[in-house]
Amino acid sequence: MSDNNNLIVYCEFDDGKIADVSLELLTKGRSLANDLGVKLEAIVIGDNLKNVEDQIFPYGADVVYKVEDKRLYPYTSNPHAAVLINLFKQIKPQVCLMGATSIGRDLGPRVSSCLHSGLTADCTSLEIGPHRDPKTGKEYENLLYQIRPAFGGNIVATIVNPDCRPQMATVREGVMKKEIVNPDHRGEVINLKASDYVKDEDFVVEIIDRHIEKSKINIKNSPIIVAGGYGVGSKENFQLLHKLADTLGGEVGASRAAVDAGFTEHDRQIGQTGVTVRPKLYIACGISGQIQHIAGMQDSSIIISINNDPNAPINTIADYVITGNVEDVVPKLIKYYKKNSK
């Protein structure tokens, strides 16, 4: 294993499963690796990794590195960082992608700091392209464009790391689409000895208690979303949205403002700092439409906006705009759905 200049995805593994966000990144990574003409590699660090590669290869990975040790699960910062740092010094990947999750956002900065490589958080798009340094005039081919919203979502910045490797980026779950390339695709498995990459002293932080709850809320995969904003007005009024969602067989989502106001749980937040969704039907109730929210739902097939402000920004991207109060309109939607559906 010498300088391989490949693209590598850090895969999160819990409860016997590779995280969705990692599979999404493998899909994106496959297409970027094709553009670059390099291999797509994946790394899994943890315990009980038997056959984990079977979940990864269908997404087109050429190589899967496995680092197995009882102490590497559950995730802690220093040991996982040590594995990546030492492996990257050895194989020198040109790009490293990870999920913008509790783990990726803890791990990425630590690795990038040690390797003095650039890291861009929460990218919403990744592309390959050339770059010309405006000061030196130096030309670069095939850099990773790390595209992300900045300044509270009011602008979109394209970031490049011209001289440092690996070019690192994190991406939130749901932003990229996961897609199996070939269910029968196989690649190479490389088992790395944990003790070659992580020292006993790296295990400094001890987990003494851990409660992981599977979120019961699954807005990402719901075909119908009834989302509420600050304009819904109260926690009680949010119950109305639940009624509509239950009637239509959908889920309830929310804007950041509604979550910050305590109207509903954080797990329901849609937007750049929450989940990105693409349902068949999106009913926006009392949502004004801040850019950071719109970015997380604009790909919905049909958008209905219910707002008492006829000029709410969200109306410009809506297919149907109903001007009125949420408390009046939502019960009518329920009533006429019940009347007309069989």
């Binding site: 509790s102 003095h116 340094d133 705009v321 007309n340």
Partner: protein
Amino acid sequence: MSLNIIVLAKQVPDTRNVGKDAMKEDGTINRAALPAIFNPEDLNALEQALRLKDAHPGSKVTLLTMGLPRAAEIIREAIFRGADTGIVLTDRALGGADTLATSYSLAQAVKKIGNYDVIIGGRQAIDGDTAQVGPQIAEKLGLPQVTYAEEILDVANGKITVKRRLENGVETVVAPLPCVVTVNGSAPECRPRNARRLMQYKRAVTPSEKAQLSAEEQAIVDARPDLSLGEWSAAYVEADPEQIGLPGSPTKVKSIENVVFTAKESLRLDDNDEQIEDLIKDLIANHTIG
């Protein structure tokens, strides 16, 4: 056991309330129209530090911030709420820093302060939302990190016990001191200003602020050492010029665009029964619902 606590904080433009007047006609942001505030999660971090101080009498809370000289405003804010003192790391050479160059600069300042037990900062700042500076400072200082803290449960025998809020649950961890802790917005809110401290410390100033004062006011500051806030340059914290500011930043901004969404031709309905029933019928007919 008394503790030496460093709180990392940032003065940020209030990006949560970007109104129409905050956007210029050409679509770029008018930073001057945005109020500069104490980064919200750094206030949660300050509260955790003040609670540690309450539980460990004799502890010292020092606020460290990097930014423009005016960032001294948030040091005073922190002192009014219970912090002991603060330092603003400010230098033209630090401008244009990405998260890595920022972390290096702050780590140098932390080393200069020295003799610390715990470093506490907010999870992330609202102008960048990256959450990178905390873990990167930990790495630069060779310290363990505990991110997404919701509550510091205990500090004893050289160890800190912290409850962490993860996206899918909670975790309690024990880390050796010194370490870096970053605090989540779900942690308790910061206590308000204390009226007595406000009176006592309203004249706390940095050297550059002091220079603007009259001779009499300067004499008042000189008579009270606790009114002198730190104002440090890059050279003072012995920062390598190659690792700070724009030259020390591996990431470069290639371009910035304003966000433009493609507008659709919307069908406008009023809140009347007939129109709403027709809409529902349409949605059922095209199999969107039902």
